[in-house]
Symmetry: C2
Subunit: 233 residues, 2 copies
DNA sequence: GCAAAAGTGTTGTGTCTACACCCATGT
DNA sequence: ACATGGGTGTAGACACAACACTTTTGC
């Protein structure tokens, strides 16, 4: 079962890359930033942005560095680690581990991206390189879960928004209908949203002016701490 | 910002280890399996069990292999990835990434462990090597969360148990009081527990015989899928 | 006035906590 | 009988979904 110990200097080491599932709600759909590979393996296939880990940097610094080539890092409202993939055959050319991150971009920015990089609707992905399809879907699941029990919406919404706008973002991200009425009450009760006091004037077709809101915090917070088995008191 | 690309053959690669936070409820307290280091760095300090990743194995295979030296792997009722640590200074001697796992051992087994390995109460940890203290606490947090919205209890409980016994396990793991009354109702309503039909005869001091239960599933399942923002219907 | 959009009131349901009370056994 | 441990009944708090209704605007 246990193997003969070998000198550390000769122990083979895996290559290590960082990847990111960068999500944004665009045109009413949840989309992911994909990049067309310029070399083997999977030349020409769509894949998640990322690249090699360099000495003296953390995984998070690494993915931020690689993403900086694709999108302005200041536009990333949230970044968190998803998981580390390690199937020895995930890259046919070399032994390579990949640590995946989830990044969220607010709806109001349209980052300038390079020629080889475009947004793709998550529900209609093309064939992806490596295990990137599974990683992308895992990122979407993480987002959907966190929209329910944290204030994660702050990272997808514009700084200031109406409830209708926020509703469209939740619908796109969750993949099912959400009523503006109940969304408002849930998020206000939890203290996640606060009114700015301003209103949005209606368009040509009329309608009551909408109150404007913002997220109270711009960092991830758990807002529904314990579903059950709460501490007594 | 971007660096000069270098040939892959000369790119430095980090060492990679796997670690496990192995938790069990012992003597009414949540405990973690720690190992006393036999070499530098942190010689003599307590640390999480684990070791180097070998070629042709996944991270999960790696941690299972290393744990096999410490506890019979068949006694691990659940194993899941926690996170990958990457601070370049986390190991003072070399550049080393660590992928941490959470492992759970049912309360009825007392695994034979080597001389240099013992159980420690999580709420009273000694000084730990590297970043292992933070990892251990992260493992406990993951467990506490999953006890609330999944059937994770199956991995801490004996195969068959009374509600009093299950209650003690939850109290130890969650760190606060839990009433057997409400624990029973929550877990039965969700279909997580099922009665075996048998009863436990009372001890010398008398008392009503307790009904025996078991977990319906022995693999992790989400039992409280959406706290809020459920799909309509 | 009428359509459009936003927001409120209200009802019903399900899930949880807390606590009083009842049940089965040993001495 | 009474102590001990197990189990049930029930009331109240709360959070949520659903939907009817009202408000505020443009035309």
């Amino acid at each position: 079962m246990s193997r003969k110990p070998r000198p550390e200097s000769t122990r083979p080491r895996p290559a290590h890359v960082t990847l990111a599932v960068v999500l944004q709600v665009r045109e009413g759909r949840l989309q992911v930033l994909l990049w067309q590979r310029a070399r083997e393996p999977f030349l020409g296939a769509w894949s998640l942005p990322g690249g090699y880990l360099e000495p003296r940097e953390t995984l998070e610094q690494s993915i931020r560095r690689h993403l900086a080539v694709k999108v302005d890092v200041r536009e990333l409202a949230h970044l968190e680690q998803l998981e580390t993939l390690s199937d020895p055959n995930r890259n046919p050319l070399e032994w390579e581990l990949a640590t995946a991150y989830l990044g969220l971009v607010p709806a109001d920015v349209d980052p300038a991206v390079p020629e080889d990089t475009t947004w793709h609707t998550v529900s209609r992905l093309p064939e992806l390189a490596f295990d990137h399809r599974a990683i992308t879907l895992a990122g979407r699941e993480r987002l959907r879960a966190k929209l329910s029990y944290t204030n994660a919406g702050f990272a997808l919404a514009q700084p200031v928004f109406t409830l209708s706008e926020l509703r469209e973002i939740y619908v796109a991200a969750l993949g099912h209908e959400v009523s503006a009425t109940n969304l408002q009450r849930v998020l206000l009760r939890r203290g996640v949203l606060e009114p700015t006091g301003d209103r949005r004037e209606p368009g040509r077709s009329g309608g009551r002016p909408a109150a404007l809101y913002r997220f109270r915090a711009r960092r991830l917070e758990i807002t529904d701490q314990f579903a059950v088995l709460r501490p007594p008191g």
